[in-house]
């Protein structure tokens, strides 16, 4: 879900400017339909016919100095440009990437980003397998099914290898995931939970070896969220018992859920898909950002309905200030941080708390 608003906002503006023009060839966006089977390895690769897509890795790392959180996202968007433009620079596909490191010793996020239009071999996303290059950043699935991600900049760098310990977890109905009350508001969605991480993290000039657990989310869609949506809460948790839990809610202006969903898969592979009524987020403690003034519910209660009865988690942040202000790069202000509690470690994403994202 994450940066979907960013892309959708851009798309909305494009529609406005495009309406006045005639004779141009607008892109024909593919539609998310239920019943389309997810097929690997092709679906690890890009789906350029859809408007937006991402490869989103989050996780906890154990370093000699203690636990760290990280996220590494590659994001593809298909802007509404004239498809007739023969220029090799035509922005038919644009790749964004974002990486952040949560280090309690620093007390705030270290982050960096890359963005480029696809082309010239400098930025490209393969359609046959997981293989994305964006300048000096990359995320590739090897023949041994391990993923290798490289990202970073001046303040930090991540060079991590992710080894899936479980088969892909198809979200929703076989990978068709509803995102709102309307049938069209949906995405293709699968996750790779419980991935073992090995590799190195550089902070400043110092590089340390790390290991840990990660979660890879893959989602692609062309469809707008509900217009009433202001933001969303999302969480992806690797449970210590080997289970994998994903839950989200889309909020309206009053903070009420417009839609909710998620799933839990046990270590044995038993899967429960949540209906909107099965997921309940509560706020246990909020934190006000001294920079933006936004108030985030950083300590959450999460209750989900399982066949055996409800299960509740109390999720505490690794530290409070995991706010990310990406306005300089044209993105939103949001909170995205490592959380843990009750036998779970994972990532919580909170958007729409600074301002309603324009749709």
């Amino acid at each position: 879900m994450r940066r979907i608003f960013q892309a959708l906002g851009a798309a909305a503006l494009l529609l406005l400017t495009a309406a006045a023009d005639t004779g141009r060839i607008a892109p024909d966006y593919a539609v998310v339909k239920p019943g389309v089977a997810i097929a690997f390895p092709a679906d690890h690769g890009a789906h350029p016919a859809f408007r937006t897509e991402w490869w989103y890795v989050t996780g906890w790392l154990d370093s000699p100095e203690g636990p760290l959180g990280f996220q590494m996202t590659f994001f593809r968007t298909r802007p509404d440009v004239d498809q007739a433009n023969p220029s090799a620079f035509a922005a038919r596909q644009v790749l964004f990437a974002h990486a952040a490191l949560s280090d309690p010793a620093v007390g705030r996020l270290l982050h960096d980003q890359r963005v480029a239009r696809e082309g010239f071999g400098l930025a490209q996303a393969s359609t046959t397998d997981g293989d994305i290059v964006l300048d000096d950043w990359s995320l590739r699935r090897g023949a041994d099914n391990r993923w290798r991600g490289k990202a970073g900049g001046k303040d930090f760098a991540l060079d991590l290898t992710f080894t899936p310990g479980q088969p892909p977890l198809l979200q929703g109905q076989g990978g068709y995931s509803r995102k709102g009350p309307q049938a069209g508001q949906a995405s293709h969605y699968y996750s790779l939970p419980q991935m073992a991480v090995s590799g190195s993290v550089r902070r400043g000039g110092r590089t340390v070896k790390v290991s840990g657990q990660a979660w890879l989310d893959r989602e692609w869609s062309s469809t707008l969220l509900d217009p009433r949506a202001v933001g969303w809460d999302w969480v992806g948790l690797n449970l210590t018992d080997g289970g994998a839990l994903m839950a989200f809610q889309v909020r309206d202006a009053a903070g009420r859920p417009l839609w909710a969903g998620g799933s839990l898969r046990t270590a044995e592979g038993a899967r429960t898909v949540f209906a909107p009524g099965d997921v309940a987020f509560t706020t246990r403690r909020s934190w006000r950002s001294p920079r933006t003034g936004a108030v985030y519910p950083v300590e959450r209660g999460l209750a989900v309905q399982l066949p055996g009865g409800p299960r509740a988690f109390v999720l505490k942040p690794l530290f409070d200030d995991q706010e990310l202000d990406s306005r300089a790069g044209g993105g939103p202000v949001y909170w995205e941080g490592a959380v843990s509690g009750d036998g779970a470690r994972g990532y919580l994403e909170l958007t729409g708390y600074f301002e309603k994202l324009t749709l």
């Binding site: 406005l16 400017t17 509404d80 440009v81 220029s87 035509a90 644009v94 963005v115």
Partner: protein, 852 residues
């Protein structure tokens, strides 16, 4: 005590100096004024140029953003975009930002603009000041920026272009020979006031303006800690012939070299004016010392030593110099301000385009010019001071008259040596592209000419002196001048210096103007010319439009031309690569060839190079050179032609060869041969109707006569500053003559009294003085004219070819010669007459008895 007595007190010294000045104000004022003029001119030229260069480099850095390194195409045709990923991966390069850069024009406006196509994502890291700020329909900027940035029809305008327009409006933009309607998506807040820049998406710019597959520029940001030189080398190794690496320094050098010669010339002329000032100070001080010989002798007798006398004269000169230099700095500041407002940063020379520069004060330069002015005055006072100190008090006290022995022959050897050295310097080559030795030659010639004055005065007057003259007044006049040539020389040196300098300038300018006029006649053979307001490379006529124009009734033949800048050297300004309607067999039909063109060997394309192009790029007829076009085309230098239009040089190809080598089939300007009896206005109207609409608006039709008028008008404008300089030189020269002659006349009161005693009538003395004055003027004019003509030849054959790389034929401005001759003779005769009257009003008996 003794030491104190030897040194007059400050009060006494200032009393002596002020008393002297009070009695001779004109002379002091002209000397100070001459210094002021020299300092003012030099300082103003420096200020104007510093301001213009500052403006120019700011303009360049606006268009270029803040890239660490930049790769630029050598011509508008650009280079293959495949270079972009190669540079992006070069070691040491953090980000490469590909750029389309074209000269464009907005419909209905004649001023050009720079159209830039950017990849916003790359530019954000390399040249953030070129990013547009989108303004959404509701006026809110912000989130979702990417939309307008990718829009093929969106354009962002700099504040200067936005004036009178608003986001959301449409504008028609022409560039690369195409015209497109675009929507104003927002502003360019990072672009400074006064710059005309339009920015759009790189893909849109490639598509809309016919640049698919091409780039004009790649901006590079170096990786942190990357070695600059190693990165440069790595990048340079990847470049094809059509691209070159430029840095801020090389661009500044390029803009500096644009006007360098022009500027150095003006500065040299200012130094010449300063030199004239020095001569005037010398002349004033010599006379003043001669007049005060008795006073100085008395001071010596009263206990002053030589050092004190010498320092008094030097202090006098120094004060004159300081006042003149101070005045000159103020004047220079005013002059520079006015010139920048009226003529622009290139003084009307046409080197810089764009915004009006703001005056930048230069304290260091101010100091340098002040010291120069002061130094000139001190050097001018040195010889008179020495003379004052040398005088024997006893002799000087008694003899208040001319201390010169008429039987002594004036020396000519030092003058000859100076003149010979000057002549030799004229044959030296340029230093660093500047005719520095040419100016040294002029300075030596000037000094030699002045030094030769006593000898010359006697030589010129000898025929008159040898003959017996009927009129006693005339005879007295001739004999006095002949007998005291060194005093005449003192009076003359200021005149000679200013006259010769002025004559030299006038001859050079009139030769230049005449040559340009002839040349215009040669290069404008047709009946009607089509010109465009604004940049010609923005629009163009494709072959279909050319055919439509040729088919207009009344057109017997139509010839199209096209010019594109092409850089042969990263540090030099680009030459123009021109398509002209010339034929390989007879290039001379449309080009004013110098020497005989040579036919190219089979298989080679001929190129005819203009005189400056040949000079600047060391091209010789018969040579084979490689043009930095696609594939590094080899061409044969088939001839050199005269061109005064493009100072940086032009290479002419036949129209067919141009299209073949550049792939550019568009043509811009055209000239028309009319059918006999065809009506000019009708044909113009027909041509206008056949032009593409976006060109028709800014097309102007002109007859050769009109173009010639415009061109000569531009010429006169660019020489406006030299005309002013000439006028100032004449006025200073005349004032110098008046002051000197009147001083000398007043000093001869006793002589006039004696003459009255032996029966010479007042009227006769007056006539004698008038004749003396006229003779003095005539000698001065003769010497000044001769020296000026010699110096003009140095300007024409040394200074001009070395700095501007073109030659010209000498034309003499006879009218000006006549005026200068008459004015100088009349001025010296008139002032002699007037001051003679004053001198004669003193009672004759008292004059003789007067002891000093």
């Amino acid at each position: 005590m003794a030491a104190d007595a030897a040194r007059p007190s400050v009060a006494a010294l200032s009393w002596l100096i002020l008393g002297e000045w009070r009695s001779q104000p004109m002379r002091v004022i002209t000397a100070a004024l001459a210094i002021a003029v020299g300092v003012a001119l030099g300082f103003a030229v420096h200020l104007i140029n510093a301001s213009a260069l500052d403006e120019f480099s700011r303009a360049i850095s606006t268009v270029n953003g803040d890239a660490d390194l930049q790769v630029q195409a050598v011509s508008n045709a650009g280079f293959d975009e495949a270079l972009y990923p190669r540079l992006a991966r070069a070691p040491g390069v953090a980000t490469a930002s590909p750029v389309i850069q074209l000269t464009g024009v907005v419909e209905g406006q004649s001023d050009g603009l720079t159209l830039i196509g950017l990849d916003i994502f790359r530019a954000a890291a390399v040249t953030p000041n070129l990013l547009g700020r989108p303004t959404a329909a509701d006026g809110q900027a912000g989130f979702g920026d990417a939309g307008a940035v990718f829009d093929e029809n969106a354009v962002f305008l700099s504040p200067a272009l936005m004036a009178g327009r608003a986001p959301g409006q449409k504008i028609s933009l022409s560039a690369g020979g195409r015209t497109t309607r675009l929507t104003i998506a927002g502003s360019l807040p990072g672009v400074a006031e006064g710059r005309r820049i339009a920015v759009m998406d790189i893909a849109a710019a490639q598509w809309r303006f016919g640049q698919i597959g091409r780039l004009q520029r790649i901006d590079l940001k170096l990786a942190e800690g990357a070695d600059r030189d190693r990165t440069r080398a790595a990048v340079a190794a990847l470049l094809p012939a059509e691209a070159e690496l430029v840095t801020r320094e090389s661009q500044t050098r390029r803009s500096d070299s644009l006007s360098r010669a022009y500027r150095v010339n003006l500065n040299m002329l200012a130094l010449m004016a300063l030199l004239t000032g020095g001569f005037l100070v010398f002349s004033a001080q010599s006379l003043s010392v001669a007049r005060r010989r008795a006073q100085f002798a008395l001071l010596r007798v009263l206990g002053s030593n030589r050092r004190a006398l010498m320092s008094q004269v030097l202090i006098e000169g120094g004060v004159v110099g300081a006042v003149g230099a101070g005045l000159g700095l103020g004047l220079g500041l005013l002059l520079a301000g006015a010139a920048l407002r009226l003529l622009g940063g290139d003084l009307g020379g046409g080197y810089f385009q764009g915004g009006q520069p703001a005056l930048v004060f230069a304290p260091v330069a101010a100091g340098v010019f002040f010291v120069l002015g002061l130094g000139c005055a001190l050097v001018g006072s040195l010889a008179p001071a020495g003379e004052a100190a040398r005088a024997q008090p006893a002799v000087a006290l008694k003899n208040a008259g001319d201390a010169v022995d008429p039987s002594a022959r004036p020396r000519i050897l030092p003058a000859l040596i100076l003149l010979l050295l000057g002549g030799a310097c004229a044959f030296a080559p340029a230093i660093g592209g500047l005719p520095l030795l040419g100016y040294v030659s002029m300075a030596l010639l000037l000094a030699g000419g002045v030094a030769a004055m006593p000898w010359l005065a006697r030589a010129l007057l000898s025929p008159l002196q040898a003959r017996s003259i009927r009129s006693p007044a005339a005879e007295l006049a001739v004999r006095r001048l002949w007998g005291a040539p060194s005093q005449a020389a003192v009076a003359l040196c200021g005149i000679v210096a200013s006259t010769s300098l002025m004559i030299a300038m006038a001859v050079m300018v009139s030769s230049f103007r005449g040559s340009v006029d002839d040349w215009l006649g040669q290069v404008l053979p047709d009946d009607l010319y089509l010109r465009y307001e604004g940049p010609s490379e923005a629009g163009g006529l494709d072959p279909a439009a050319q055919a439509r124009l040729a088919a207009v009734p009344g057109v017997a033949a139509i010839h199209f031309t096209r010019a594109q800048p092409l850089r042969l050297n990263p540090d030099a300004p680009p030459v123009a690569l021109v398509a002209q309607p010339v034929t390989r067999d007879d290039p001379g039909a449309r080009l004013p060839m110098i020497g005989k063109p040579r036919p190219p060997p089979p298989g080679l394309t001929p190129v005819w190079v203009s005189e400056p192009a040949a000079w600047l790029n060391h091209l010789k007829v018969g040579e084979v050179i490689r043009l930095p076009l696609k594939g590094g085309t080899k061409v044969f230098v088939a001839g050199v032609w005269r061109d005064y239009a493009r100072q940086n040089g032009a290479l002419v190809l036949t129209s067919e060869d141009y299209t073949r080598l550049t792939g550019d089939a568009l043509r811009a300007e055209a000239s028309v041969d009319l059918e006999p009896g065809a009506d000019l206005d009708q044909v113009s109207a027909g041509l206008k109707a056949a032009l593409p609409p976006e060109l028709a608006d800014r097309t102007r039709f002109a007859r050769p006569g009109q173009i010639r008028g415009i061109a000569l008008g531009l010429f006169d404008r660019s020489f406006a500053i030299t005309y002013v300089l000439e006028l100032v030189a004449i006025l200073v020269g005349l004032a110098g003559v008046a002051a000197t002659v009147s001083a000398q006349t007043l000093a001869r009161t006793k002589e006039f009294g004696m003459l009255r005693h032996i029966g010479v009538r007042k009227r006769q003395i007056t006539a004698m003085l008038a004749m003396e004055g006229a003779l003095l003027g005539a000698v001065g004019v003769a010497a000044g004219l001769t020296l000026g003509l010699i110096m003009s030849q140095v300007l024409i054959h040394v200074v001009n070819p070395q700095s501007f790389h073109w030659t010209m034929q000498t034309r003499l401005p006879w009218g000006l010669f006549a005026i200068v001759t008459a004015a100088l003779i009349a001025a010296s005769a008139g002032t002699a007459l007037l001051s003679g009257r004053r001198a004669l009003s003193v009672d004759a008996v008292r004059a003789v008895r007067e002891d000093w």
